[in-house]
Subunit: 211 residues, 2 copies
């Protein structure tokens, strides 16, 4: 299958969206938890999460253009806080369901069967059964002028991971955590156990970290 530059406008819109969402590869599916100023909880699936830096700890994601009511964006803008919750694979269909257009006063926690949890007085709700989750404060945002999407960068103020999936060197084993990868617009996967390697040096063979 080949696609050439001149053609994207000619492709049917959903076909095009599936194709280019697939091309960007595997990503983590997360549920972003927020709360409005008036106290309404919101939970929405996102798949475009990425690492921005470790010191300070920063996480980023891409938000679609703000050309319709976007509750997650509004809550983050208004309050400054959000949570990023990895999804246990057993809950991936329920997580997909959070992408339906529920009205603002309807909590996707309740509609889709996730329990909100408040930890250490953090303003935004976490998913109670997420094995790896971060509480974030909005640190930076900017519009990407080419298509009006927004880059949102949050500072991780609180990170929780279940003990059984964390290694002594800081690595979190997401296969052991049993979380969900996503491809395209609508496809969910698990990942195989990791193969780890030592820091690479020129002209030495890659060194496996597994005994």
């Amino acid at each position: 299958m080949r696609f050439r530059a001149a053609e994207p406008e000619a492709l049917e819109a959903r076909y095009r969206a599936r194709l280019f969402n697939s091309a960007s590869g595997m990503r983590t599916a997360v549920l972003i938890g927020t709360k409005s100023k008036s106290g309404n909880e919101n939970l929405a699936i996102f798949s475009n999460i990425f690492h921005v830096g470790a010191n300070p700890p920063l996480i980023g994601f891409i938000m679609r253009p703000i050309n319709r009511e976007r509750h997650t964006y509004k809550n983050i803008s208004d309050t400054g806080y959000f949570t990023v919750n990895h999804i246990p694979f057993r809950a991936h269909a329920a997580a997909h369901q959070t992408s339906a257009k529920y009205p603002e006063d309807r909590s996707e926690f309740e509609a889709c069967g996730f329990d909100p949890e408040y930890t250490d007085g953090f303003f935004a709700p976490f998913c109670a059964d997420s094995p790896v989750r971060s509480g974030c404060r909005l640190e930076y945002e900017t519009e990407i002028p080419v298509n009006g999407t927004r880059l949102i960068v949050g500072r991780i103020l609180l990170l929780e991971a279940e003990d059984h999936c964390t290694a002594d060197d800081g690595f979190i084993d997401l296969a052991k955590a049993g979380v969900t990868a996503v491809t395209g617009l609508d496809a969910y996967h698990t990942v195989s156990p990791p193969k780890r390697y030592a820091y690479a040096e020129p002209d030495r063979d890659p060194k496996s970290l597994h005994p």
Copy 2:
């Protein structure tokens, strides 16, 4: 395991990097191919690739701060072109090896055992055996002021995917393509076959696309 906001500076640097790179989840490992103005080919592994938009087709990635010689960045800045090549899982160790600090005049294609391929006169080299690969032109870049990393956005001018992994609706089955997911700094995974769902509607159960 818990981490609290006040502590990141106190963590050992590599531990901190592993921890927060893990927290951001699964990503696709890709090899970015570039060529310098003087004709030196470069190939480097990146793990922070994400979808920015489908119309026009845009792909983004985060580049570490430009505080040392970064051949990929220099080549993209100088020439405007790069390729994004998904990595067959059988080649993940060789792909990891491209992260070693080779001198500028040494091609990681040659040093790490990847064959460069030029398609349709595209300026930057592709990996010959990549099952899903994109030829991109630099469209936008910006510095993320919090930590000096750079957001690079490329426009996909040419997308190639092997026929056996592409579906009629535009979806590319990356499990079938046999490509590589990455977590943390150094861990590589395959993904399970996809579970796909129809577009979600409020108050209807998620509908599987599998018969």
